[in-house]
Amino acid sequence: MNLAPLVALVGNPNAGKSALFNALTGARQKVGNYPGVTVERHSGRLALDDGRPVELVDLPGTYSLDPSSADERVTRDVVTGQGGYERTPDALVVVIDAANLDNHLRFALQLIALGRPTVIALNMIDLAERDGLTLDPAVLARELGVPVVPTVAVRRRGLDELRAALTGLIGTAATPPAPEEEIAVLQKRARALSRAAVVSETPGRRWGAALDAVALHPLFGPVILLALLFVMFQAVFAWSEAPIGWIEAGFAALETFVTTLIPDGFIQSLLTQGLIAGVGAVIVFLPQILILFLFILVLEASGYMVRAAFLMDRMMARVGLSGRAFIPLLSSFACAVPGIMATRSIEDEKDRLTTILIAPLMTCSARLPVYTIIIGAFIPNRLLGGWVGLQGLVLFGLYVLGILGAFVAALVLRRTVTKGASSGFMMEMPKYQWPQPRDVLIGLWTRVEIFLKRAGTTIALTTIVLWALLSYPTPPAGSPVSQVDYSVAGRIANGVEVIVRPIGFNRDIALALIPAMAAREVAVAAIGTVYAIDDTEGESGQRSMVDKLRHRWSLPTALAFLMWFVFAPQCISTIAVTRRETNGWKWPAFMVGYLFAAAYIAAGITYWASVALGL
């Protein structure tokens, strides 16, 4: 069988390759406004005008074919056919930012010199025009000797012309590559070309510069960054109340419906106490997780991420990292798995390894349910000074603790196991852009799918297994031993409790910790199931769970539990992605070990300190 021709999208970071890829193939690859959004090769299908299929690959952005990080290496390998990518592309689509020809044309020249059939997508032409630049694509096409197509990927402009140009190119023979030239020589030619292609240039509105004057201000900049994070965590609580209420009402109605439909017994118990109590306890947190993602997606799409990296560089340098590492770490607030993948754009290997090892300390969204339920039960819902919610403040504090923990861990790691020269910080600062509502919605929807899938598979399965282990065997009639204590899971938990009793954990926590390894949210589901089984009044939902927690847990125990999850031994997906990114079991094993130890010690200190304080 003949393989479809291979076409690669190449270009500088932030030229809009992934946006163009999505527009051409209908894919939903993540797009964002900072260098390093795409860290691996993505492939999709595209039909040419004459019906021939083409395999289009989207590649990480890079400044040249001389890679300095893992993601850039992928681009070099695919384009030049090395490192397991034996099939060299049959044609290249070189994506360049119309507003930055001086720089992007240099890499374009290097790519054209490869002799492969090439078309240039002169992307974001609308933004260049907004900046007051008028370009002549025909001049560029003549000087470069390849077709040049003006495009606006996010508005789907120029796609037909680009497809037509590709149709003409596929099947034409490659010419032998021209000898490589020095960067400086190419750069001079690029500048000359840029001058020739610019028809007119009027200074446009410099609102980006005005924005940066505030966002990067030595004093206001850090204050704004902190305020943004603070508002984000306040919003997680403040905006989610109503939708959480609807979801709870939905699950309560479902439970009533199941109870009336199915007679008392095994099936009813499995459905209500097992599935609905467990999965429902987790799904309730979807609104909060989406609010968090909304903030992160908007930050990523606006171009603010690199500004945050800039502001954080000095602090990161103190612990032996660079501002660059801040971007994957901030993404890890959503989930550590994409955060760890994003470290591929970090040049220095030791830097990258350190960032991977501390990424799980960034409070991921899966920890939100655990934090929320404990905070909801033990921290009064009060406003401080009239506008700051105390619960949101405590949540913010937990995030800050995670960040501080990560800094301390980085400091220690960089002086011990990941010792090495400190790396530099050099990053392009992209222009600010309004987030595309479509991209943000796709990002949120992807999250909903992932979350519901997890709730429906991992979480549901763990909950059912746990329910079964908690429900059997049943104690003989009249036995003073409770159902939970008599069950298989209860007996295991009573064994584990011996280890965790010194740090103030009770049997219920011991029981929740093991399944929480599958997914952290399961800790909540597990406790939900325990209380549903132990409960005789038949009340359920988050409200009643909060009441039960208040009765059964002391405040020091609750605080210790929160602290445990700040350092929480991570979920299995994080361990798996760490194994993949570090090529072995050594580092994931180390990571699990140090995080377990840190969690145990931190929870213990918290417990005993609060007991001593008489809380």
Binding site: Y63, S64, D66, S68, A99, N100, L101, D102, N103, R106, I183, A184, Q187, R191, A209, D212, A213, L216, H217, P218, G221, P222, V306, A309, F310, L311, D313, R314, A317, G323, E347, G424, F425, M426, M427, E428, M429
Partner: protein, 83 residues
């Protein structure tokens, strides 16, 4: 009279400048390469836009048509003249 140049690390903000010399030998190889890829070379127009945290931390500067963040140690290797 020999011309003296200023280091980009300490050059006043929002003042147009031209790169006079770059001490490539003072930079690590990956840093030098990335600097070239950003378009830094003798004769190029640059402008310091922002400095973080009074005194230390990285600087943001315009080079050609783009804005880049570099550390002060790297900026110190770049000598510029006004205008």
């Amino acid at each position: 009279m020999a011309t003296t140049f200023d280091s980009l690390a300490t050059f006043p903000r929002q003042t147009r400048a031209t790169v006079a010399t770059i001490d490539w030998a003072a930079l690590q190889a990956p840093e030098a390469r990335r600097l070239r890829e950003f378009g830094f070379e003798e004769g190029v127009g640059v402008e310091v836009l922002h400095r973080s945290f009074l005194g230390s931390g990285p600087i943001a500067c315009r080079v050609g048509r783009m804005t880049v963040a570099i550390r002060r140690t790297v900026a110190a290797a770049i000598q510029v003249s006004r205008g």
